[in-house]
């Protein structure tokens, strides 16, 4: 068998090669994001920029708009995803019956020209003459098919339990029946009064899909048929590029450009450099470093708007007895230096928080004070609560930046040192987001960082979603519930269960009068502020980099980007 030296040498080399693979793979873990960055791409956008429409009128679009982002899409099927990255493209291809007004949080007519919510009935009057990209007219039959594909497991063309995103059940499970008396009328019968209903219909996941496309065998993942201002051209997964073309027969604001290209540029700094060099027009996913490159470039500008999100540190009352004392929770709020957090660590890309919702939301309470850093007060509160000698906690956090927490590791270090000053010993546990969510969902954490980005810009989407305990009855005399409790809302990672708060947000969910509803939320915000189940950290801003040749771009705090309104020179 050992024929000559060659065989042995080969074995040796094989082993050596294996070792080399191992080391290269290991080496890659740490590398990546910081280096390789400063890059330019020198290609002129004008040279081959597509079919130039010669008509001088405002009909017909011209030019190619390039939108660069950190990741490619995973799917173009609105019902199969809850990812913001997917939503950006889906928004261009599909319309909802009701839409968010561009750049605002208010609602406006979409494929339904009129909409009304009264009692437990929502009535939609559909627009006539709106067409899908396949030329067919949009009617109530398409609405019904779209709805059933998302929610009706008995439906022949049901999207599938393993494919469906949770948005379907989450946004629409309050709907009991859908009736379509004629081609242009839809009536939704609700199980109970539900104030956020109309807003739920405006979420990208409920984009109207053509019935014939639903019934065809082409998977919607790569064969989208919507009514949106742009239609699908091609998707090159190996280049991370999706091309859309202007849909000339769109019912609403027709696109001003003839083509939109979504392209993936993984590195933050490469993305910013490409923007400055003019090879892409709009970028997102900016961090502190890249924002300054854009500000200094002169070729592009930074567009910003307050975001509808919240970042917090939740104190798990189910696990740690110490946190069941309001004084301890308040002491934590006084101990953590949120001013330093938003200014130094988040580089001014966020503002401080003192309640569950940001300022631009219904129910935001102006009268509440910030918990300004006050070490002495924190210490005395701990003393009063009987924990003058301090205690130990574990702070769970995730590794990668999120919108509401652009640098989780540094933030955790800051909190740790802040808490140490008041006698709380903190150990930090860092996990990948997926593992982290599992950890916190099952209540294994003492305290954890988390946050929330809104789905529908409704206060219910913060107050109820994040701090309602989910259970029917809170055990008498306590203001927390166990993670094992029936119907427990696992998003409420503080396990906080305040009966007054619970009642207020339940009432508000069924209150249609705007003023009354806002008052209830303001009251709920005050309870949350005073009871402090979280250390309220921040509300992050939304940022985009826009090249100077682009006009008409408005940054949307929810939904969007509204690329049909944008033109390029």
């Amino acid at each position: 068998m050992p024929r000559n030296g060659n065989i042995d040498r080969r074995r040796f080399l094989k082993a050596a090669g294996g070792a080399a693979v191992a080391t290269t793979v290991a080496g890659c873990q740490g590398a990546g994001s910081n280096d390789g960055g400063t890059a330019t791409e020198t290609t002129s956008g004008e040279e081959t920029s597509g079919d130039t429409d010669t008509e001088s009128g405002d009909e017909g679009g011209s030019g190619t708009l390039t939108y660069a982002r950190g990741n490619d899409s995973g799917t173009l099927d609105p019902q199969a995803t809850s990812s913001g990255e997917d939503a950006k493209v889906i928004q261009q291809l599909y319309d909802q019956v009701i839409e968010f007004a561009p750049g605002k949080t208010t609602l406006q007519a979409g494929l339904a020209k009129e909409f009304e919510l009264e009692g437990t009935t929502a009535t939609l009057t559909l627009r006539e003459g709106a067409t899908f990209h396949n030329g067919e007219e949009f009617t109530s039959a398409d609405f019904e098919a779209t709805y059933r594909r998302f929610l009706d497991e008995e439906y022949e063309y049901f999207v599938g339990a393993d494919t469906r995103s949770y948005y379907g059940p989450y946004l629409l499970s309050v709907v009991k029946t859908v009736n379509t008396p004629d081609d242009y009328t839809v009536e939704l019968e609700l199980k109970e009064k539900h104030a956020p209903m109309l807003r739920n219909l405006a979420v990208f996941a409920f984009g109207m899909i053509s019935k014939s496309a639903i019934e065809s065998s082409d998977p919607l993942r790569k064969n989208p048929v919507g009514t949106g201002p742009f239609q699908f051209e091609s998707w090159s997964e190996s280049d991370g590029q999706i091309r859309l073309s202007r849909y000339a027969d769109h019912w609403g604001t027709k696109a001003k450009v003839s083509e939109v290209v979504f392209t993936e540029i993984t590195e933050n700094s490469s993305r910013a450099q490409s923007l400055n060099a003019g090879s892409v027009d709009i970028i997102d996913g900016l961090d502190a470093q890249t924002t300054s490159t854009i500000e200094n470039s002169g070729n592009a500008e930074l567009v910003t708007t307050p975001g509808i999100n919240v970042g917090y540190l939740a104190m798990n009352m189910a696990r740690r007895e110490e946190f069941r004392s309001q004084k301890v929770r308040q002491a934590f709020n006084y101990a953590v230096d949120t001013q330093a957090l938003v200014e130094s660590i988040y580089s001014g890309l966020a503002v401080r928080a003192n309640q569950p919702v940001p300022e631009n939301m219904t129910g935001y309470n102006d009268d509440l004070d910030m918990y300004d850093r006050d070490v002495e007060k924190a210490k005395s509160l701990l003393q009063e609560a009987g924990y003058g000698d301090g205690f130990e906690i574990e702070l769970a956090t995730f590794r990668n930046p999120r919108t509401y927490n652009p640098s989780p590791s540094s933030a955790a270090q800051l909190v740790k040192s802040n808490l140490e000053e008041v006698g709380i010993t903190t150990s930090i546990r860092t996990m990948e987001f997926n593992a982290f969510i599992e950890y916190t969902n099952t209540g294994k954490h003492d305290a954890c960082f988390l946050g929330w980005m809104t789905d529908n810009a409704d206060p219910d989407n913060f107050f109820y979603a994040l701090l309602h305990p989910g259970v029917e009855e809170i055990p008498g005399g306590q203001d927390w519930v166990s993670f094992d409790a029936e119907n427990f809302n696992t998003l409420n990672v503080a396990a906080w269960a305040n009966p007054d708060y619970k009642q207020l947000v339940e009432e508000a969910q069924e209150t249609y009068d705007k003023g009354t509803r806002a008052e209830k939320y303001k009251e709920a915000a005050k309870i949350a502020h005073d009871q402090a189940p979280w250390v309220f950290l921040d509300h992050a801003k939304e940022l985009r980099g826009v090249n100077n040749r682009v006009s008409g771009f408005t940054i949307a705090p929810i939904s969007g980007p509204y690329l049909n309104r944008v033109s390029v020179q």
Binding site: N6, G27, C28, D35, T43, S165, S238, T490
Partner: protein, 337 residues
Amino acid sequence: MISRRFLLKRLLLLVPVLFGVATFVFAMLHLAPGDPARLIAGRRAPDAFVQQVRTELGLNRPVYVQYGEFLLDVVRFDFGKSYQIQKGAPVSEILEARFPVTLELAVLGQLTGIALGIPLGVLSAVKQDSLTDHLTRIGALTGISVPIFWSGPILIMVFGVMLGWLPTFGRIATTYTYESVTHMILIDTLLSGNPAAFVSAARHMLLPVLVIGIYSMALISRMMRSSMLEVIRQDYMRTARAKGQGANITVMKHGFQNALIPVITVIGIQFGTLLGGAILTETVFSINGVGTLLVEAINNSDYPVVQGTVLLFALLFTLVNLGVDVTYSYLDPRIEQ
């Protein structure tokens, strides 16, 4: 020459190797933290919904049942559908789009390495201890020692940023369209008959190929040199010279072919390494090949994609090795099984 029995034996050997790899990957994934059902369902979903997803994916069944099913599927070349990163898409379809990207890069890099490494190695051996030899050896040592995640960014800095000659990421400028037939961009742009697009693609390809090429050149030239030196000292070489054959002919005719045998091994093994190393090159240059796919899939607990990708790597690695053995027997007929 190569007997059919030898080939058959080697092909059959693939079965236990792939079985081992499949088992290993399956075990690793199922031991790692992170629940794919929760990831798919999202944070908003209550446990009941997560449970439904789990049931749908069959993740609630005993591990041995899942394992058995997984093996059965593998035998049928069915790697399932992506859980997350391209939700619902068959893994085979994803790999079909991504794998040629990596393959193109690795092949071009390897060819560059061979084209540079073999002549340098021969030159270095023939002119042993000369200045050329020393320079080549230093160059080779540097090439091996410098990791791609360092050389990549340096090349980007110099040629992309400081000199501005070459694009630094991606595979083609966004202004060009072409039809993806083979997913190998140089071929596709040629097929689409757009010379400007081809040039753009080639310019994008240059730096990553160079990075891989330098790395592979280093090992090849070192191996070529030492093997050549060994051969040069053989008796038959001296005999050939003694009977009056010219020095160059002796080296190229008698020496080169024999010295090539161990180099072929290195090239074969290195090709596998390059596919693995593609993870780095692809990350540095933002190229959507299997390397970046694998990293993304691992981060997202996308079991089917991870399993499919790793098995593909394993299959390729073993096939390349088989190719090496076959080449062996061709170069040296004594090596026969």
